[in-house]
Amino acid sequence: MNILSVSALSKSFGGVQAVRAVSFNVEAGQLLAIIGPNGAGKSTCFNMVNGQIRPDSGSVTIGGVEVSGKTPREIWRLGVGRTFQITATFASMTVRENVQMALLSYHHRLASWWPRVMNLYREEADELLRRLGMSEQAHRQCALLAYGDLKRVELAMALANRPRLLLMDEPTAGMAAAERIELMALTAEIVRERRIAALFTEHDMDVVFAHADRIVVLNRGLLIAEGSPEDVRVDAQVRDVYLGSRR
């Protein structure tokens, strides 16, 4: 079943066509990676899905609902969790409180004035943190955390939304190699176990080819290849783009 459908998506910035009529789908329990050289339109494409950029034309549907023109906030409400290329967490709060905030939002409890946050959804938060191996860090302030741990906090916050769709912008950027593999393995495991559709952009080809179920390759705003890692690996056009033109 398709969770995310992107069709004929286009965007130009001041005459430069950043994305041209790109279409693809992501199914539940599937990891789809968007790759491509710098300037290929990965980020633009990604940001049109998460609501930060409004497309010129084309459509993005999540669970059958059209989302182009919706704000990131509304998109979260459709059951989408996301992580950022440069982590964005609440620095003054502890790890657990960060996750609690996401849970409070999921449960529509943000407007309550009376109860204390410390008592709300604490077990649920701890359960998520345990799943991500962050139990030890739960009481620490995010401002004091290592970068890799912040990525895990973001993932926990995304999962707090019980997402149908997980959007990850460069999920392993800035991490050491061993850590990357570990985090992506964990992510893939969770995505399959919870039947989440996951879309991510990534520079590191090892990560992509090890964990993605399918890969979309963009170049100069155009989708030039799509398929399993094996298919993409042998695709002539992709080899052209990455290994230089032989034409």
Partner: protein, 626 residues
Amino acid sequence: MSSIVIQFLNGLAGASALFLVAAGLSLIFGVTRIVNFAHGSLYMLGIYIAYSAIGWASGSDGPGPMGFWGGVLVSAIAVGATGALTEMLLLRRIYGAPELFQLLATFGVVLVLKDFALWVWGPEDLLGPRAPGLQGSVAILGQAFPTYDLVLIAIGASVLCALWLLLRRTRWGMLVRAATQDREMVGALGVNQKWLFTAVFALGSALAGLGGALQIPREPAQLLLDLSVIADAFVVVVVGGMGSVPGAALAALIIAEIKSFCVGIGQLDVLGFTVSLPKLTLVVEFIVMAIVLVARPWGLLGRAPGPQRVFAGGHEQPLQPAVRSALLAILALLAAVPFIANGYTVVLLIDILVFALFAASLHFLMGPAGMASFGHAAYFGLGAYGAALLVKAAGFPMETALLSAPFVAAAGAALFGWFCVRLSGVYLAMLTLAFAQIAWSVVFQWDTFTGGSNGIVGVWPSPWLASGSAYYYVALTLCGCGIWLLRRIVLSPYGFALRAGRDSPLRCDAIGIDLVRMQWVAFIVAGTCAGLAGAIYAFSKGSISPETLSIPLSVDGLVMVLLGGVQTASGPVVGAALFTWLQDTVARNTDYWRALLGGIIIALVLLFPQGIVGFIRQRFGRSGSL
């Protein structure tokens, strides 16, 4: 026709004066991010020093050209040196402190400089000589126009050009512009940031001094200049876009011309109403600022500021048992005060309680919600006027009025906040100031309803509350509940959501938090509590006047919050108590109490750069538990 030309020239002369003082402030803010409250004082110092220097160089028939222009130059240099010294001795030590904390230090400087000027030059206005050779006027289209004003226009334009060249054509200027965009990056490039800051401060201060000195032939040196100039200068800087020198010039031009033409046009008949435009000059710059900021959130020529310094803000935790029992002990002590202390202690404590609630409500915006308000007195004043008018005009019983007045303030906060939350940082703060000034000017001028500048008298509590101690218990209960409620909200999901918005708006958006709405509600909550404080204040004084919405009270609120420390809810309470008590005690015991108060504030700033409660927490608390 000729009148339009002359009023335009009047506006140009005014713009030139305004630009000189605002340009320096803009440079200083752009590079150091310091809200320099003392800039108006430097301007005042400029006019005083020039007065003395020119007087010293004068013969029996007034100053020669050398004496006059030399005096102006000496003054600019002396004021520049004063600014540089202030930066090196005071501000340099507290750059690491939380944002806006430096404002507190410069506030201390304002107080000290004011009493210094009184001590050196005495209380009388000092009207300096006219500029030699430029005493008279020239005929323009048959109207007399002062020659000196033409020179002033030329000087303003030359300074603009010189600054532009300095910023565009020199390496130093390039550094200043880079620092305005991104301070950290310049530091990373290996530039000696310290000296860059000192130099910018010296230049900015010298411009303020020059601006003051050049006013010698136009107005007397006097002790109220500092505060009357600083607000105008800030408005110009913000309207122009902070850090933008051409922006400051453009804003000065717009504001001065509008003022000039308001005066020139005089009465205007609109739809059968007669509008007195000259009366509008009381507030027109703030109206301009409000309009500009609503339309262009970073001023006319400003750009969105670069990455801000990340400051892991306050982290409120539930009380621990020991602290809880200590608090109960304090409450018990406060409840016992009417039995153990004299009547005045009770009076002073009512003031302290009122300001503690006022400061706590401001802290609610500044701390957890991360929105500094420079116009918080507006809500205090609306509450106070609400209470007074509900009793006087609507005939409410005093008790009902006291409890309904906060909703008047809430309505004001809802209206003003709706616009403010769409901005951020100092621009947001300045928009709150603009709204507060507009509210103030309405109250100040609406004689038939608000009593105008005289305010409203005869606002006393009901007879059963007339005794000092009865009213004290009302104040203690209401202020205590207010502060407790504010703190409780900070610990609730809503309070956490506000903090979340302060820490990372991006993440808030991504997890479905409607930040703008949350912040808007924060304005209403803070406004309501400030309004409650104002209503309690009104009945404790028996009268109410426009001061309750004015800039000085807003500044007092900021000082209280910063003095105590923005990190925790107890900070503003301690700050309010300390500031109110200090003011009361110091004012009683010395002639130069303002200088003493300023000196104490500066000392506290240097000793406790995190605020007093922040210091106690840092010194004695374990970071995880407090």
